[in-house]
């Protein structure tokens, strides 16, 4: 049973996208609202830092810019891994998949470092509405990235077992959609949280 692509019931799909790909797009639509709700909550609470550190006091913009860049680069490697597989270049597909997963893990590592630093500096989860909103928003994002890494590793395993073939490149494309979405959300989060001038105490 060949290309799952845009065929169902013997005739083309209504949108021209395969069911699986359309499902991912639809799912990402709902995720927009999920992050929208969390971002809105953050926006409301960014200046309510009670007795704890204010955002302007505690953020390390250069550091977070570097980790944001890393995540951005991981989207590039994701694209490269897809295009490799579409060309039939299994080896480079694996290389770029691994690179994406590594870059993603580096990003998560950066988040962990950042969170533990904040904790040491007096910004805990329950310190203030600002802190709760900050950690919840970035935490949800981090969980999404981590699940993405799990998916990338699964693709790698499938590749090493020989089942991730050129014909199945749509699977990589679909994971890629998810990965790019998570990256775009981060751009929003980074802008809203870090780049927009924050209150200081």
């Amino acid at each position: 049973m060949a290309d799952v692509a845009a065929v169902d019931n013997g005739h083309g799909t209504g949108t021209g996208l395969s069911n699986n790909k359309l499902l991912m797009w639809v799912f990402l639509g709902s995720e927009c609202l999920l992050f929208g709700g969390l971002i809105s909550t953050y926006l409301i609470y960014r200046s309510r830092y009670a007795d704890g550190p204010a955002p302007g006091d505690i953020f390390d913009i250069p550091f977070t810019s570097v980790s944001s860049f890393i995540l951005l680069m991981s989207s590039l490697t994701m694209v490269l891994s897809l295009s490799a597989l579409q060309r039939g270049d299994i080896r480079n597909n694996r290389v770029w998949l691994l690179a994406t997963a590594l870059l993603g893990s580096l990003f998560i590592g950066g988040q962990v470092y950042e969170f533990t630093t904040f904790l040491r500096e007096g910004l805990g989860y329950t310190t203030s509405p600002f802190s709760s909103a900050f950690f919840t928003l970035t935490g949800f994002h981090g969980i999404h990235v981590s699940l993405g890494i799990v998916m990338l590793v699964s693709l790698l395993i499938a590749s090493f077992r020989g089942t991730l073939t050129k014909e199945r490149s749509e699977t990589v494309e679909i994971v890629g959609l998810y990965w790019h979405f998570v990256d775009v959300v981060w751009i929003f989060i980074f802008t809203v949280i870090y780049l927009v001038p924050s209150p200081t105490s």
């Binding site: 209504g14 359309l22 709902s30 709700g37 009670a50 699977t171």
Partner: protein, 660 residues
């Protein structure tokens, strides 16, 4: 035919089982991925919850029948009214709409099933898990008691220290997952799997309304997910989202809840609008008046519904400019809704109306929803709402739209599509008792609440004192509620009696109502494979146009009988999606996670294991069983071989390779 479970086999890793094959018996139901069976499961389960929610309603009415009532103590009353609301909204109306959507939508677009049959099963089992989880709180003595709207900070850990609200949060998170997955599934199904020739504007209005509802769910459920997470984190981890002492804003809960909550009410009503848009033309013997306007007004309601949420917050202190804006937007959403009412009336106008029970219920929707809609318009006038909100006037409004609108529409759907699902008609005679008892009881119960509200009776009070003028109408309403109960009982009797009678009668033939849309092409009950062959659609109401044409004078003439047009269900070459255990197994994990988050994290472990095991099994199970059933003879081994089994969908998340 029994299925064989192999723990491991050559070429098949541990934990990867063959697909089950049973289509019969209880195993058939547990492993089904057939949209029709899933629809029936939703319907039956929702009706059981309807009984529970109805009992809760009767308890409320018993308590309020007299002043200073002593039937329920204050604490119990708060739990009962909370669970009544939660049950009716999340465990009754939404899954009843899902029942119709699941059963009929693929048929109405000429498809063989939904896009992702296993995900479809997962939605049902997760819904059941959530509903059971919510209700088990009764048995553990700690049911939610903060109202269905759960306003913070009352529902925070300081003011609701028990576990009740945790059950609320986690129960709704679980059912929310079910709704979200189902929404995604149905959207892909409608957008991708329509039969050749069926453009969007040749879909029945019911399909359109269901599609709009799925988009509303897709975007609204994440918002309440956020709200519930924030409340959970407040309660469990000491976060400060709704804690005013630390700077949290209780109104944030209200905004998040109602940004979900208002689209939610359109989620509740649009399916019934869709149902009656099929029933009314059929029994008026004319097409739906203004099809494009019906479609566009439904879409308009879907869009505009996002811009009115703060009309639930007119007196909460959001400031006069916000109130003014939402007052205006709420007024304007009345326009597309009114257009629908007028179009249904215009459909009936000039028709030759057959007042079957389905038509009676549809008629009931048009009239009862009008009343509810009009009281809604009076709420939109913000100054007036400062007197009306939080009184029984509001209770009257939403029961008129939800009961009078959504529920009566669902009953219309029951009577209309019962033959399609079960192969026999419900008794019209008993049905008339059902209808009249329900509608009389309903108006007796909720009509007077308009008066009670305007006379100042507050909502959500467990009792009232004598001397406020509330006694008479409360007693009247309570009597009415028992008449509703009798009406519902008539429905149950009808179901049982009709099933009994059907055993001694020949099955109802095709197209008992002379209907208009694609689902009536199949014999009754629908064969497991749906259509014998793909239907090429050339027009709206394709089925109708195969039976009838218009002559040179514009008069309708028959060109074919239903028997000639309808398929006979004998095809045996349709490959069906194989059943699967994993949706059931995965859903079973969720309540454990919930209990773990409430009591002790250790309990989460078996839940997480079940979910992970199910994900693994789901991904790796063969996409098909080559010896599995074809056509509708489940025990008829076919000698077809489709080599689907070879592709192990490694690394894919919950993918369903369409089998065709």
């Amino acid at each position: 035919m029994s299925d064989t479970i192999e723990l491991a086999a050559p070429g098949r890793p541990l934990g990867v089982y063959t697909r089950p094959r049973d289509n019969t018996g209880w195993r058939g139901w547990i492993t089904t991925v057939d949209h029709k069976k899933i629809g029936i499961l939703y319907g039956v389960t929702a009706m059981v919850f309807f009984g529970i929610g109805g009992l809760e309603a009767l308890l409320i009415r018993l308590q309020l029948a007299t002043p200073d009532g002593t039937v329920l103590g204050a604490d119990t009353y708060n739990r009962v009214f909370t669970m009544h609301g939660v049950t009716m909204v999340f465990l009754v109306i939404m899954p009843l709409a899902a029942a119709f959507a699941n059963y009929l939508l693929p048929l109405q677009i000429g498809a063989r099933d939904v896009a992702f049959p296993r995900l479809n099963a997962l939605s049902y089992w997760v819904f059941l898990a959530g509903g059971l989880f919510l209700n088990v709180s009764w048995l553990l003595g700690d049911s939610p008691d903060g109202g269905w709207f759960a306003y913070a900070p009352n529902t925070g850990v300081v003011f609701s220290p028990g576990h009740g609200m945790d059950y609320y949060i986690l129960g709704l998170q679980i059912t929310g997952i079910a709704s979200l997955i189902s929404a995604m599934n149905l959207i892909v199904t409608v957008l991708n799997m329509r039969t050749p020739g069926m453009t969007l504007f040749k879909m029945p209005v019911m399909t359109w309304m269901i599609l709009v509802v799925q988009f509303l769910l897709l975007f609204a459920v994440p918002v309440i997910t956020v709200a519930l997470f924030l409340l959970l984190f407040d309660r469990s981890f000491g976060a400060n989202f709704f804690n005013p002492e630390m700077g949290g804003d209780p109104l944030l809960w209200q905004h998040l809840f109602w940004i979900f909550g208002h689209p939610e009410v359109y989620i509740l009503i649009l399916p019934s609008f869709g149902i009656i848009s099929e029933v009314i033309p059929t029994f008026s013997r004319k097409p739906l008046f203004g099809y494009p306007f019906m479609v566009f007004s439904g879409i308009a309601i879907g869009f505009m519904g996002w811009g009115v949420w703060a009309h639930h917050m007119f007196v909460s202190g959001i400031g006069p400019i916000s109130v003014a804006a939402f007052s205006m937007s709420t007024m304007f959403i009345a326009v597309p809704t009114g257009v629908k009412i007028l179009n249904w009336l215009a459909t009936m106008w000039g028709g030759k109306i057959k007042f079957t029970v389905a038509m009676l219920f549809a008629f009931g929707v048009v009239s009862m929803f009008t009343i509810g809609g009009l009281s809604g318009v009076t709420h939109s006038v913000a100054p007036a709402d400062t007197q009306q909100t939080d009184t029984y006037y509001i209770v009257a409004h939403f029961h008129y739209v939800i009961f009078g609108g959504s529920l009566l529409g669902i009953f219309a759907g029951f009577y209309f599509w019962w033959p399609k699902v079960f192969g026999h008609l419900l008794s019209e005679k008993l049905g008339k008792w059902n209808f009249w008892l329900m509608i009389i009881g309903f108006n007796m119960t909720f009509g007077p609440m308009h008066i009670l509200g305007l006379q100042g009776m507050s909502r959500r009070i467990d009792s009232y004192s004598p001397g406020f003028g509330f006694e008479f109408w409360n007693m009247f309403a309570s009597i009415g509620s028992f008449i509703i109960a009798l009406g519902v009982l008539m429905f149950v009797i009808n179901v049982i009696a009709s099933a009994r009678r059907a055993r001694h009668e020949p099955p109802v033939g095709p197209d008992p109502w002379d209907a208009r849309s694609l689902e009536w092409f199949t014999p009754n009950p629908t064969p497991v494979h749906n259509f014998d062959e793909l239907i090429q659609v050339d027009s709206l109401d394709e089925f109708w146009h195969r039976k009838y044409a218009e002559d040179e004078n514009g008069r309708v003439v028959r060109v074919a009988t239903a028997e000639e047009v309808c398929q006979d269900g004998s095809a045996t070459d349709t490959h069906l999606p194989s059943p699967s255990y994993w949706p059931f197994v995965m859903a079973a994990g969720f309540p454990f996670v919930g209990f773990g988050l409430i009591y002790t994290l250790w309990i989460c472990i078996p839940g997480a294991l079940l979910i992970l095991m199910a994900i693994y099994g789901w991904i790796f199970e063969p996409t098909d069983d080559p010896d599995g059933p074809h056509g509708h003879h489940a025990d008829d081994p076919s000698d077809h071989d489709e080599a689907e089994a070879s592709s192990e969908a490694a690394g894919e998340t919950a993918e369903e390779a369409p089998v065709g």
